[in-house]
């Protein structure tokens, strides 16, 4: 209760609400993702108390994920990848003149999904943290490798490209002073490189600048006032749909939370899986894709619930559940916090504050989201290229503001170009950023483990939990080729 009261302090609530407005703005612009919104927020949180920064990040992530559904519903263009599934039925309802019903229902279900996701986080993470206390360097090494591998395995392109992206990311993380021996690696005598490659400029470049580059090249004119503000919707009608579909909301939110908790899988995957699950369990599956209310409810409940779920591995193990929590981990380290099971003992009050912020954000989401729906009729008249120019300069000035370092601005530009090229040749970006974040943790645990064992690797497989983690890792890479082999053998017979 004390934690709940504390989050209403002015130095927390004002930036938190402003960040939620920013999330609505960024999430609703097609091509700009929730990850990008979070990436833009982080430099601003540098000078704040940790919970104010985390509240901004949590708030902006929930509003931007919801806001992605606004252009998805009205224009058939997903605002963020997590809104891909929202175009199916939301837009069909818009075509029938029920766009406002669809988006308002979407908003209410987003908030409910968010609440369920946070509740799962509250009840599951302390239990898992107790279990994680048994982990040693061996388990943390495998857990880090597993977290990285998941991001490669689930990437939409080939696993090989995912592995390349991981290796590049982890290699980048080795630049700077080696914390075990104090030797400067790949610094070439330059003091700016001794401190290593900053995670924040890398992330802003990869997810912010590169996306702007891509959007500018593939730009179609979206500065059209397609939405009319004349739409009206009866609140009772929305709540009637919510009441009749409570089971579906809970089901989709649980699906979303579980998928969100898997390292590497985020709100976008959660939304599609929840849509598929809802269709399978529906009494009227034939209506999906033609303007089904269930088709609106399922993905939007799941994508917001996935955000809560993705915090489970981040808080408990220090392994990000998705790109947003990858940034959260970097931000927490920046605030001097150490995510992991001990955070539940050492920073219990902060953890309770995070849970409280997550729940209260859903109430704010309802109000700010509703204003956002109205505001978009105005925002869509803005030339999109002005928005891009604004994002580019905010990316550069934001990264400069962190350490007053022009080198960080060069990094933003360099990673922006790298991110653009990588996407062009279909090398996924997420494993690279995860590599930069998890690289130091993996290296430290591997090297400390090797020192403990006099350089022998076998003890890394000698404990039940570490061996289980290794088996899961092997299964991740071998499952597909093995099943393909079995299928080929069967076909030949």
């Amino acid at each position: 209760m004390q934690a709940l009261n504390s989050i209403f302090a002015m130095n927390i609530i004002v930036p938190w609400i402003l960040a939620m407005f920013l999330g609505i703005f960024v999430g609703g612009i097609p091509g700009l993702t929730a990850t990008m919104a979070v990436a833009l927020i982080v430099p601003l949180t540098y000078h704040m108390v940790p919970i104010a920064g985390l509240a901004m990040i949590i708030g902006v992530s929930f509003t931007s994920i919801f806001a992605g559904d606004i252009p998805a519903t009205f224009l058939r263009i997903p605002g963020t990848p997590a809104s891909g599934a929202a175009v199916l039925d939301g837009y069909e309802l818009t075509k029938r003149g029920q766009g406002y019903l669809a988006i308002t229902l979407d908003l209410v279900c987003s908030a409910l999904g968010g609440v369920i996701g946070i509740l799962i986080l509250i009840f599951v993470s302390p239990v898992l943290a107790g279990f994680a206390l048994q982990f040693t360097h061996y388990e943390y090494f495998w857990l880090g490798v597993l977290g990285l591998s998941m991001s490669a395995v689930i990437s939409r392109t080939s696993k090989l490209k995912g592995v390349i992206s991981i290796a590049l990311g982890v290699l980048i993380s080795t630049i700077g002073i080696d914390i075990t021996t104090g030797y400067p690696r790949f610094a070439f005598g330059k003091p700016v490189l001794m401190g290593g490659i900053g995670f924040i400029p890398a992330m802003i470049g990869l997810f912010g600048v590169s996306e702007v580059f891509r959007s500018i090249l593939s730009s179609t004119d979206l500065s059209l006032s397609v939405i009319t503000t004349k739409g009206r919707v009866k609140f009772g009608e929305v709540m009637g749909h919510v009441g009749r579909n409570l089971r579906l909301i809970v089901q989709s939110s649980v699906v979303g939370s579980v998928i969100g908790a898997l390292p590497g899988a985020g709100a976008d995957v959660a939304a599609w899986v929840a849509y598929g699950t809802a269709k399978k369990s529906s009494k009227t599956p034939e209506e999906f894709g033609t303007g089904s209310i269930e088709g609106v409810i399922a993905p939007t409940s799941a994508n917001n619930a996935a955000l809560g779920g993705s915090w489970v591995p981040a808080l408990v193990f220090g392994i990000p559940g998705d790109t947003i929590t990858a940034i959260v981990l970097g931000a927490m380290l920046m605030y001097g916090l150490k995510p992991g099971p001990l955070i539940f003992e050492n920073e219990r009050f902060l953890v309770d504050q995070i849970f409280s912020v997550g729940l209260v954000s859903q109430v704010f989401l309802l109000v700010i989201g509703f204003l956002g729906i109205k505001a978009y009729s105005w925002i869509f008249r803005f030339p999109r290229n002005v928005v891009y120019a604004g994002i580019l300069i905010f990316s550069m000035v934001g990264s400069f503001a962190m350490r007053s370092s022009l080198f960080d601005v060069w990094l933003v530009l360099g990673f922006g170009v790298l991110g653009y090229v990588m996407e062009k040749v279909e090398i996924p970006l997420v494993p690279l950023i995860l590599g930069i974040i998890l690289g130091p943790m993996i290296e430290a645990n591997l090297r400390i483990g090797l020192i403990k064992t006099d350089g022998r690797f076998m003890p890394f497989l000698g404990r039940p939990i570490s061996f289980t983690l290794f088996l899961i890792l092997a299964g991740l890479f071998l499952w597909e080729p093995l099943t393909a082999l079995v299928r080929m053998v069967r076909r030949k017979r």
Partner: protein, 160 residues
């Protein structure tokens, strides 16, 4: 004769190149005795560079096997690609960003930011007066957020 290579070849060769470069650079890193060798500063980057080289070789092989199903990149035709309006716009934006970072300190944050925003929007086909107006508005927002709210010292340059 036009040399035709595909995307996978390029990725593979770049990976092998980076991996080899890392192996060469880590040769000068200090090493210890016995098992300490394993845990020295070169150990982890070397493991990664070997993974990168192996992945690069696999990618090159992939390119050879899948050659027919992938769209080839004509190396000698790269000049034509650079001539497309989209690529030219992108290159100009990158050049503007480079100039912005280079001149931010000597000229000052506000004049360079105004010029950067104005030229960028103008290039992106926003009308000149709108470009100027939005540039001023954005500068106001940047000033409010970074200077007034977070007390960040932005380079004053000529105005300092």
């Amino acid at each position: 004769m036009q040399i035709r290579i595909n995307r996978e070849h390029v990725i593979g060769i770049v990976c092998i190149g980076i991996g080899t470069l890392v192996l060469i650079l880590t040769r000068n890193f200090p090493t210890g005795q016995g098992y300490v060798k394993l845990t020295g500063p070169a150990f982890f980057p070397n493991v990664l560079s070997i993974i990168l080289i192996l992945a690069g070789i696999a990618e090159v092989v992939n390119g050879i096997i899948l050659r027919t199903s992938l769209s080839p990149v004509a190396v000698l035709g790269i000049g034509e690609q650079l001539k497309t309006p989209g690529t030219q716009t992108l290159l100009i934006i990158i050049a503007l960003m480079v100039l912005y970072v280079l001149f931010m300190k000597p000229i000052g944050f506000f004049p360079t930011s105004f010029l950067f925003l104005f030229l960028l929007m103008w290039r992106l086909k926003v009308r000149w007066w709108k470009s100027a107006l939005f540039s001023i508005v954005l500068l106001g927002v940047l000033y409010g957020v970074f200077v007034r709210l977070f007390y960040v010292n932005l380079p004053a340059g000529l105005l300092g």
